[in-house]
Symmetry: C2
DNA sequence: GTAACTGCAAAATATTTGCATCCTT
DNA sequence: AAGGATGCAAATATTTTGCAGTTAC
């Protein structure tokens, strides 16, 4: 994983620093999307809140992660699996938010559907967020 | 419109006050979704920022408006056209954000598509936000 | 060594809460 | 008159910015 992390950072001409490595590691090991707050929590008291802001911002700019809009205030970030390049995302997959465990995951294999728009509307990007119960929570039927 | 506004407020057992009437009026006359900031601007210096917060909150609780998630920080609100009742929204339509004029509109006539999810995923709500060029901006081809 | 990154402090913004006053019903 | 809504002040929370010190290359 170390190698992968370094590779991602170098490919995007970002210096390899411990903060960036740590944050990238969090994204790689958690399969779910993370909010700014999640990152602060999971990283422990390691680094400054400001660093998290700046790191997330540069990751988004470089196309390493993308943001997922949610109904409430929070913005979630998830790794771009595809060949996103600077300022050019290809996140045409759908996002799934589990109401039970709260995890948000990218369903990479499911493309956004074609939407039939009214006359004279032209779509450039379609964002789909599905709420429901995820695979893991479905299995363990027992409620908390 | 006055009558309509009063009717909506009364139906939801909210007192008919000038602040609420003004905000509801803004939603009714603008066909687009509004952010907290939009409302403050469009309402002039009429009332307090806090009142806007509280009014929007109670409107959402009552099901008069619903929130639309967007990729950036902002939360947008739009009127519920359907028979939304308290705590029970039926906003199964899609949202369209125009990249040119910035307006966000509810496409009431277009239902959210069926999404084929992986095994053991269960969807309870599907949220679709389409970015693109809206009808109005499409017509006037001349760029700004 | 230089440029880029980080952490701290502080500024700027945004949101929430308490309370006294005013408006609806 | 009573309860709810508003406005103000202030407490919190969030995000941004400047700058000096540190780290990566």
């Amino acid at each position: 994983m170390e190698a992968q992390i370094n590779s991602i950072l170098k490919r995007n001409s970002l210096s390899v620093t411990s903060g960036r490595k740590k944050i990238l590691e969090l994204f790689l090991e958690n399969n779910a999307a993370l909010s700014h707050g999640d990152i602060e929590k999971k990283a422990g008291e390691k680094f400054d809140r400001v660093t998290v802001y700046r790191t997330l911002q540069s990751f988004v700019e470089k196309g390493i992660i993308h943001s997922i809009p949610t109904a409430d205030n929070s913005i979630l970030y998830a790794l771009c699996k595809d060949n996103c390049s600077e300022g050019h995302h290809h996140d045409n997959h759908i996002h799934f938010i589990c109401s039970k465990c709260g995890d948000t995951t990218c369903l990479e294999n499911i493309s956004t559907p074609m939407i039939k728009l009214p006359d004279n509307f032209v779509a450039t990007k379609v964002e789909v967020v599905v709420n429901g119960i995820c695979k893991n929570c479905q299995k363990k039927k027992a409620p908390m």
